[in-house]
Structure formats: structure tokens, C-alpha cells
């Protein structure tokens, strides 16, 4: 699904999202992140909790107002000055699937009304046709008519997540942000949801931004992967090359930390152990953010923030020592 010659569907340029967390204290949740997503591809975004990957997704979909930077979707810049009608129309193109299968569905609404929310908001269909469309969507995600009149608390986690997917699909979006859609699910259910997402991508030509912290699943579903650390993108490459030859020391440590479900491999494996934990993300100083934990850090790393550079064709990393 490589489509480098195409124009990107979504271009994010130097996106910044800062939060004021106290007097003179600024949390740079997303700091100067740029990336392009091409039509039909899946871009995985990984990182540990607090790295800003979810904030990035929510800013792209306009749940947060960006502090600075540009978001261009299909050649059209989306920002605060967009007329509200166009803003409203835009919600049909870009959709989101949420993390928590318990919190993402309104406990007081029936499944049929939950799925139809987008249809109602845009006044697409009503009456019989609305019901028909909802049942069709439920069937797409492997549920049936029997489920339409029930309330969310009667469903299992995996079923709820599929209801959430049906809700997002109701407006026929082109681009879907999956915000950790599987991290709250059981292993046997995760594969169901991943398969469903892939199947939908093939049938409907969807483009995904897939945010997760489970690297093995991200590798499975993504064409390209971006790694974030403390609000900044540290590495971006196609998934093969990221897993085979990671350039950034943080990515290397992250990959080596994933436990592999194979006892013999696990026992013989050597790990890059990171010392300590994430530094305080408030009021960061100049310099590489990873320098305090990096085994290769030098004086330069502490003084100058590294830029993203193309180290190999299509493989970007923000590290002074990557080459």
C-alpha cells in the first residue's frame, strides 16, 4: 500500500499543543510534530503513557485547539477560522474510535441510538431507513438485530468496542483515528477487533492513524510507524525498517522491552534496560529529551535539541548520533 507518489491525505506541520498547568508552568504535550498520512495507509503512533500520542490525535480531529502549527486535510487547511458549516461537514470525513469500551458509550442510550448518533447529527436518514442503516452497520461489525435495543452495560468489552466502530462508520468517514482501540481488551478479543479494522480498511478504503502502546499489534496493522517520546516525534519509518533496524536509542530500548510470547526466545534474549523513568514533562529545557536516560548521551545531546532528519530513505530519526 505504498503510495509515496500520491498527495498526502493529511499533512500535519509543526503541530504544537501546550497546556497551562499552573502559574508559569507549561506542559508541552505535543511539541513541533510533523507528519504526512497518505490515502489508504495505516500510520501507527507509539510511545509510553504521557508521550502526547493521544493529545496529538485529539488535536488533529479538532477536539483540542492547536497552540501552533498547521493541519491540512485533503488540501484544505483546518483551523479555528473555518466556517462552522464546513467544520460540521468535516466531521463526516474524519472519525475516531476510542480507548475505553466502558466510557465511550453513553450508558443511558440504546445501541441503536448510539450507532445512529452521526446519522442524526447530520440528518442523513430518518425513520425506517435509519433503522435499516444501523442494522446494516451492526452486521458489518459482527453484531445483529438482537443487540440493537439493548443498553451498553449488557455487552462485553469487545462487543462495545465494535459498537463504537459502527458508530464511527455511520457517517462514511475517509479517515479514522484509532485511539488505543485495543489496549483495554482481552488478548483473544484484540485480534477480533484488529481483523475487523483491517477488513473495513480494505472494503472501504479507509485511512488510519493507529495510536497504541502495544508495539506488536502496531507492527501488524501499520504501514509506517512513528515513535513519540515526551511530546516529540523521535523516529518515523516504515514498519519493517523500524523493527529491523531502529535508529533512535529510545526505539531500540522500547523494542527490546516487549516480552515475546516464546519462553526459549525470552530466556536467551538480552535487553537494553533503560534506567529510571520519564522525566517531568513540565518546563522542559533545551536539549534532547531522551538524554537523561540515553546510554549514548553526550554533551551535545544535553545542549541542542536534535532535528528530525532522513537518515535512510524514508526513515527519519531525531538523534544526533543516528547515521
Amino acid at each position: 500500500m505504498k503510495s509515496a507518489e500520491n498527495k498526502p491525505l493529511l499533512e500535519v506541520k509543526n503541530l504544537k499543543k501546550y497546556f497551562q498547568v499552573g502559574k508559569n508552568q507549561i506542559l508541552k504535550a505535543v511539541d513541533d510534530v510533523s507528519l504526512d498520512i497518505y490515502k489508504g495507509e495505516t500510520l501507527g503512533l507509539v510511545g509510553e503513557s504521557g508521550c502526547g500520542k493521544s493529545t496529538f490525535g485529539r488535536t488533529v480531529i479538532q477536539l483540542y485547539e492547536p497552540t501552533d502549527g498547521r493541519i491540512v486535510y485533503d488540501g484544505r487547511e483546518i483551523n479555528g477560522s473555518l466556517p462552522s458549516a464546513e467544520r460540521h461537514g468535516f466531521t463526516r470525513k474524519m472519525q475516531m474510535i476510542f480507548q475505553d469500551p466502558y466510557a465511550c458509550l453513553n450508558p443511558r442510550m440504546k445501541v441503536i441510538d448510539i450507532v445512529a448518533e452521526g446519522i442524526d447529527a447530520h440528518g442523513i436518514l430518518s425513520g425506517e431507513e435509519r433503522t435499516k442503516k444501523v442494522l446494516e452497520l451492526l452486521e458489518t461489525v459482527g453484531l445483529s438485530e438482537e443487540h440493537a435495543n439493548r443498553f451498553p452495560h449488557e455487552f462485553s468489552g469487545g462487543q462495545r468496542q465494535r459498537v463504537g466502530i459502527a458508530r464511527a462508520l455511520a457517517v462514511n468517514p475517509e479517515f479514522v483515528i484509532c485511539d488505543e482501540p485495543i489496549s483495554a481488551l482481552d488478548v483473544s478479543i484484540q485480534a477480533q477487533v484488529i481483523n475487523l479494522l483491517k477488513e473495513l480498511q480494505e472494503k472501504r478504503g479507509l485511512t488510519y492513524l493507529f495510536i497504541a502502546h502495544d508495539l506488536s499489534m502496531v507492527k501488524h496493522i501499520s504501514d509506517r510507524i512513528g515513535v513519540m517520546y515526551l511530546g516529540a516525534m523521535v523516529e518515523l519509518a516504515d514498519s519493517e525498517s523500524l523493527f529491523e533496524a531502529p535508529l533512535h536509542p529510545y526505539t531500540q530500548a522500547l523494542l527490546s522491552a516487549i516480552p515475546i510470547p516464546d519462553p526459549d526466545v525470552e530466556k536467551s534474549r538480552s535487553r537494553i534496560m533503560l534506567e529510571g523513568s520519564l522525566p517531568n514533562p513540565v518546563n522542559l529545557k533545551e536539549g534532547c529529551r531522551f538524554a537523561s536516560r540515553c546510554p549514548y548521551a553526550e554533551q551535545l545531546c544535553k545542549e541542542k535539541t536534535p532535528e528530525m532528519k532522513e537518515v535512510r530513505p524514508g526513515h527519519f530519526a531525531a538523534c544526533h548520533k543516528a547515521m
Binding site: S156, S188, I194, S216, P259, P261, E266, M273, S277
Partner: protein
């Protein structure tokens, strides 16, 4: 040879307003000295409830309705709450999933360790307790124990807190350490640190560990033996290598297959279809029958027996029965 811990035909019921949930339906397993047993299963499979009944920490509406829990021959299921209090923390300790909620936010770290010692080690003096606490803090790999001793939980990161939780649990040299999803709330890099610490500690202080997890990678990393739970029953248990390489139960096979392999990229994952059974009204046959790819009529009507399919490799599946030979082929 007598086992350190032996659980026999344990049955736990939980009363809810809609009816009785048969959370644990007759499970048996054992734990030897200095061994790590991993209990694997999805949410609602009864794994957490099983270990909570060992600890005597069942919720008020939960009750052990059958079976026994033998700790060095003494049946804990018959113990009163008072008797359990002397066991908890000294003979068996537990660490929980969320390090933030298992520490008291208003007490310094040192004090939390000393509190446990006060409860169980009446013979120690104050200075001995403090020395022991400092020793424990450095044992779990926290530098500067003297300064950390007077710090509060919120001053530490998630990984550090989990280390403190482990230190509290180890204060009285427990024979068994039960870890309920100890790394689920942590990031991968921190998870690796904690797993390493647990393995390291086990060698140093010679304790036995029961670890509950749903992450098969963690199992492969740390376990000696594995027990797989599904629908309130133990469906398979074996030595870790045997479980991963000679898997017998279709559910375990399904679990292993649903994890993406490093080697093959793209394509469809082998998912297990459907959802786990509702234990309010458990199926009369095999709990996995509704989701299994190789269901026989017998699976739906009779619960499978525990079968031995290797030296200490147990599985509950009708496919292992002699009479299923024709169907298997």
C-alpha cells in the same frame, strides 16, 4: 512430597442482584517452593477471584462454597478473618495492579513498610524495623534508601511505586508472593524493569510467586509453570515450555495464535470468535464449546474431565479422549 500450596476443587460463588455468578468452578492447582506459577486468562475467567480467595480477600458478596486451600497442610478456606490476618502479609503477600491505589498517599514510604513489620513482627525493636525497611528499599533497587524512606508515594514515578509495593509485600519474608497483574498499569520499558526485579528477588529471598496476567509475553519471561483459566475453570496447566510448544487445549492454542508473530506481517490474525460465557448461567458442557473451532456434540452436553497428557501436563478437553480419535483425524 508435600506441596507448599495446594488448591483442590475450589468453588467460589458471587452473589449479585441478578443472581449467583459461579466465578470459580472447581479448580485445582499447586505451587512448589521457589517456583513461579503464572495464571493466565481473560477478564471474567475467575483468575483474580481464585487468588483473592487464597488471600481471604473475597468481596463481601463472594463465598467459597467448596474445595480446600492447603498452605503447608493447613486449610485456609476454613480460617476465620482473624486467623487470615496473621497469614496475610507474613506467609502470603499480594501486590496489585495499580501501584497508586495500593499505597496510602498520606504515609511516607518508610512508615508503610514499618507498619507491616509492626503488625507481624512483634519481636523487633524500632531501630531494627527501620533498618529492615531501609534494607528492603535498597533490595527492590531504589537508590538513596535514606531519602526515599521519608518520601510520600506521589513523589515517586509509577515504576518506583510498584517497587515500593513489592518492598511492602516482602517485608516479612512471605513464603508466597501473589502478583495480580503487576505490570499491566505500567509502560513496557518499566514492565521489563519490574519483571527483572521479581526474578532477581526470587533468587535472593527464595520465595514462590503466583503471577496473574493476560500477557503471554510476561508469562514466557517469568513463569516456570502456567495454568490457563477459562470460564471459571482451569482448562490447561503445564510446564511453561510444554504449554507454549506442545499446546493441547484449543483455547490456549487460540490465545497463542491471536498474537501477531514477529515473522509474518500483515494478513489476518487468527482470532477467537465470540465472547466468553456468562458465569451466571454457565454452559452445561465445556465452557469454550461455543467459541471452539473443533466443537463436538459431546462438548456441548458434558463437561470434559481433567486429562493428563504428559508428565504434569493437564488439559480439560474432549478432543484428548480416546473416542474423539476419529473426529481428530
Amino acid at each position: 512430597m508435600s506441596r507448599l500450596l495446594e488448591v483442590n476443587q475450589l468453588q467460589v460463588h458471587i452473589k449479585t442482584q441478578h443472581g449467583i455468578v459461579q466465578a470459580v468452578r472447581g479448580i485445582s492447582f499447586y505451587l512448589d517452593e521457589q517456583e513461579t506459577l503464572a495464571i493466565v486468562g481473560e477478564s471474567g475467567s475467575g483468575k483474580s477471584i481464585s487468588v483473592k480467595s487464597i488471600m481471604g480477600l473475597l468481596p463481601k458478596n463472594g463465598k467459597i462454597v467448596g474445595g480446600s486451600i492447603l498452605l503447608e497442610g493447613k486449610d485456609l478456606s476454613k480460617y476465620s478473618e482473624r486467623q487470615m490476618q496473621t497469614i496475610r502479609g507474613s506467609d502470603i503477600s499480594m501486590i496489585f495492579q495499580d501501584p497508586m491505589t495500593s499505597l496510602n498517599p498520606t504515609m511516607t514510604i518508610g512508615k508503610q513498610i514499618v507498619e507491616v513489620l509492626k503488625e507481624h513482627r512483634k519481636d523487633m525493636t524500632k531501630t531494627q524495623m527501620k533498618d529492615r525497611a531501609l534494607e528492603l528499599i535498597s533490595l527492590v533497587g531504589i537508590s538513596n534508601p535514606e531519602t526515599r524512606f521519608d518520601q510520600y508515594p506521589h513523589q515517586l514515578s509509577g515504576g518506583m511505586r510498584q517497587r515500593v509495593v513489592i518492598a511492602v509485600a516482602l517485608a516479612c519474608d512471605p513464603k508466597i508472593l501473589i502478583a495480580d497483574e503487576p505490570t499491566t498499569a505500567l509502560d513496557v520499558t518499566i514492565q521489563a524493569q519490574i519483571l527483572d526485579l521479581m526474578k532477581d528477588l526470587q533468587k535472593k529471598i527464595k520465595t514462590s510467586i503466583i503471577i496473574i496476567t493476560h500477557n503471554l509475553g510476561v508469562v514466557a519471561n517469568i513463569a516456570d509453570r502456567v495454568a490457563v483459566m477459562y470460564g471459571g475453570q482451569l482448562v490447561e496447566s503445564a510446564d511453561v515450555r510444554e504449554l507454549f510448544y506442545q499446546t493441547e487445549h484449543p483455547y490456549t492454542k487460540g490465545l497463542l495464535a491471536s498474537i501477531p508473530k514477529a515473522s509474518h506481517k500483515g494478513g489476518e490474525l487468527t482470532a477467537i470468535h465470540g465472547t466468553p460465557p456468562d458465569l451466571m448461567d454457565p454452559p452445561k458442557g465445556c465452557p469454550f464449546a461455543a467459541r471452539c473451532t473443533k466443537t463436538m456434540e459431546v462438548c456441548r452436553q458434558y463437561p470434559p474431565e481433567d486429562m493428563l497428557c504428559g508428565e504434569s501436563h493437564h488439559a480439560r478437553c474432549w478432543l484428548l479422549d480416546e473416542r474423539a480419535k476419529a473426529f481428530r483425524e
